[in-house]
């Protein structure tokens, strides 16, 4: 439940471009229920601070509305930092937990809200929470590279930002299926450290 609520809250913050990037990082860690994800989130917050001079997501959106998308505008180091941050978010995206580990009695393929024998449909909740986590991570990754898809800057390149969000979600799903969890976590932390270092030093 906490992970689901954190994922929804993170998505809401990113969509509306309100809130703080460091808080978004904490929510990312809670959504993934993973220390590595939380660390990556905070490092990305530091990267945002290093590039835009503020940890506010509104500043992130406003800055990209003025100078262009972070993924292809500005100094090379900053551009690389943005892409590394987005990659880190996608790599530590919340994953679906195996049903056998936590809910041994849960039948496979139970529908949402109709899970007999399990309180409040834990298996379905895992899938729902996973989907929410993927959506939130995709939105956050897209916001780091191309700006928020909806919200305050709806008048500009909205299609591009929507496409970036969809692509980021698809990549998150693909990484979750192809890349082993441990490898993805290590790669995500490395990418986040690189993003923060580039943003602060460049």
């Amino acid at each position: 439940m906490l992970s689901l609520g954190a994922a929804i809250g993170l998505a809401m913050m990113v969509i509306t471009s309100t809130g703080d990037a460091l808080v978004a990082g904490v929510l990312l860690g809670l959504a993934a229920a993973d220390l590595a994800a939380g660390t990556v989130g905070v490092l990305i917050g530091i990267a945002v601070v290093g590039r835009w001079g503020s940890s506010s997501l509104a500043a992130l959106a406003g800055g990209q509305a003025v100078v262009g998308a972070a993924g292809w505008s500005g100094p090379t180091g900053m551009v690389v930092s943005s892409w590394a941050a987005a990659a880190a978010v996608v790599l530590v995206c919340p994953r679906r937990r195996p049903a056998s580990a936590s809910t041994p009695e849960a039948p496979a393929g139970t529908a949402f809200g109709h899970t007999a024998g399990t309180a409040f449909g834990h298996a379905a909740g895992t899938a729902f929470g996973h989907a929410a986590g993927v959506v939130a991570s995709g939105l956050m990754a897209a916001a780091l590279v191309a700006g928020p898809a909806v919200g305050r800057e709806t008048g500009s390149v909205i299609a591009l930002r929507v496409a970036a969000s969809v692509v980021a979600m698809a990549v998150a799903v693909l990484v979750g299926r192809v890349c082993p969890r441990r490898v993805a976590r290590v790669a995500g932390v490395i990418a986040a450290v690189s993003a923060a270092a580039l943003a602060v030093l460049a």
Binding site: A11, M12, A116, T118, A119, G125
Partner: protein, 502 residues
């Protein structure tokens, strides 16, 4: 101060004593009567509310021999909330009396003096509180007298350091008062920081250290002796000590005068986080940040508030209360841009990682929130969601407030809708979830599960045990599934219930 604020101050100082006298005549809780600790908690909540009125109204000024600052009022409110958690489940009248009297003493130490913190009030109040919170009597089995002496020694050292600080102030200025508009010598500030550190250590020493690696079996079998949710009485000293440190630290003359103190305190905070002492770590961080650049001052107050809340709640997720302080600190580091601020930020980041790791490990045990900690937890939730409304801290967190409010609202809406849909859409033939959850599956009692499974499955003479429900099965803390442990042969005799119980 207005008349309402003066009344609130009187109520805040007197309410603990009044409720102590009122509860003293009540018989011990039996039958339908609530226990005396509940009456005391109600009175302490009145005191906390009075302090809160002073904080929210921004009370500043003096009345008679007492003065109020927002920081002092906030510290008093925090001490009262801690006291509510301390008396949870306490049945001994002596403990209740000592807690109430100690809270009043802490309140006097925070507000004594007409034009600032007076030496007699601060030192006398804290000394009285230290004596009242010391527990040198016969303790429970397994606790050494030497171990119970340590908090008293720390409290005594803190009070002595505070007295030294006032002596240094008197030697330079000729006054026995610590005013916020007059610079103080470096030696006095160091003495006050030492006093705050020692009192903070005393205040957090009674807390159960978070789960260490390798102690899961002991905790699950219930042999770990220190599994308690309520803090010790010494926790009352934390708020008073932090108030002394946060009041004195900004009075330095130069910007980087206390650079060494910042590094030492931040390093100590990292070490404390490494040994899973979350509250102590946050308290030390608050003092380190307070001794740092002035731009970080709001962060230090928010971190101090988080430390007090962590002491009262004593659960891993309470460490989230440090998030606003960390965010405020980040903006302060951006504004300052100095090396000292950067070093402080590094210390905060290290503490955050260590505490997050500890929380992720201990969270699997799922301890419950005690009733006495609910008020402090509510204030902690307020701190996490809307720290910008804590104007006494001086933090400017408008973006944080807006985003977090939306995130919490959206998350709660979806979670509530999800729960409702899940409850309404359950099949009629499905057993209700509460029936599936046995009484022993409560998190607070879940530590006994493995032993129960082992003993019931190993007894050959007892009837075949029913299949354990999902909630009764042993769950792994880390990855993978738990394997059923082999039962020791000695335990067979214990599994048979006595005839009376059978």
């Amino acid at each position: 101060m207005t008349g309402a604020q003066t009344s609130a101050l009187v109520v805040a100082l007197v309410a603990p004593i009044v409720v102590l006298v009122a509860a003293g005549g009540r018989p011990t809780g039996s039958g339908s009567r609530p226990p005396p600790s509940r009456w005391v908690q109600a009175g302490l909540l009145v005191a906390a509310g009075a302090w809160l009125v002073l904080v929210v109204s921004g009370a500043t000024g003096h009345t008679g021999a007492f003065h109020v600052t927002p920081l002092a009022a906030a510290a008093g409110c925090g001490a009262a909330l801690v006291a509510v958690a301390v008396v949870e489940g306490t049945t001994r009248r002596r403990s209740l009396s000592a807690t109430c009297a100690a809270l009043s003493a802490v309140g006097v130490s925070l507000t004594a003096g007409s034009d600032g913190a007076a030496a007699a009030g601060v030192v006398g109040g804290l000394a009285l509180a230290a004596v009242l919170t010391a527990d040198l009597g016969p303790g429970p089995a397994g606790t050494s007298r030497r171990g119970r002496m340590l908090p008293a020694l720390l409290a005594g050292g803190g009070v002595a350091a505070g007295a030294i600080g006032f002596a240094v102030v008197h030697s330079r200025t000729g006054h026995w008062t610590l005013t916020t508009d007059a610079p103080v010598a470096l030696g006095a500030i160091v003495a006050f920081l030492v006093a705050a550190t020692l009192l903070g250590a005393c205040g957090t020493l009674g807390l159960r250290p978070a789960l260490r690696s390798g102690t899961e079996p002991a905790l699950r079998s219930g042999t770990e002796p220190a599994l308690r949710a309520a803090p010790e009485r010494g926790a009352l000293l934390l708020a008073g000590g932090l108030a002394v440190g946060l009041t004195a630290a900004p009075l330095r003359v130069g910007a980087d005068e206390l650079g060494a103190a910042v590094v030492i305190l931040a390093s100590a905070a990292v070490v404390a986080a490494g040994v899973r002492r979350g509250a102590l770590s946050l308290a030390l961080l608050a003092l380190a940040v307070a001794a740092g650049p002035a731009a970080l001052a709001p962060g230090s107050r928010l971190l101090a508030a988080a430390a007090v809340i962590v002491v009262a709640v004593d659960l891993p997720w309470a460490w989230l209360a440090a998030t606003p302080g960390a965010v405020s600190l980040a903006s302060g580091v951006i504004d300052d841009g100095g090396r000292l601020a950067f070093a402080t930020a590094v210390g905060v980041a290290a503490v955050a990682v260590l505490l997050a790791q500890a929380a992720s490990e201990e969270g699997a045990l799922g301890r419950r929130l005690s009733l006495g900690a609910v008020p402090a937890a509510s204030v902690g939730a307020w701190l996490v969601v809307a720290p910008g409304s804590w104007t006494w801290t001086g933090a400017s967190l408008a973006a944080y407030d807006e985003g977090t409010a939306r995130a919490v609202a959206a998350g709660l809406l979806v979670v509530v809708a999800y729960v409702l849909v899940g409850a309404l859409g359950r099949r009629p033939d499905a057993p209700p979830p509460r029936r599936a959850r046995s009484r022993s599956s409560r998190p607070g009692r879940s530590l006994e599960r493995p032993a129960q499974l082992v003993t019931s499955g190993s007894s050959a003479s007892t009837p075949r045990p029913r299949r354990a429900t999902r909630s009764q099965r042993a769950r792994p803390i880390g990855r993978g599934r738990a394997r059923p442990a082999k039962a020791p042969k000695r335990s067979r005799s214990r599994t048979r219930p006595p005839p009376s119980e059978a």
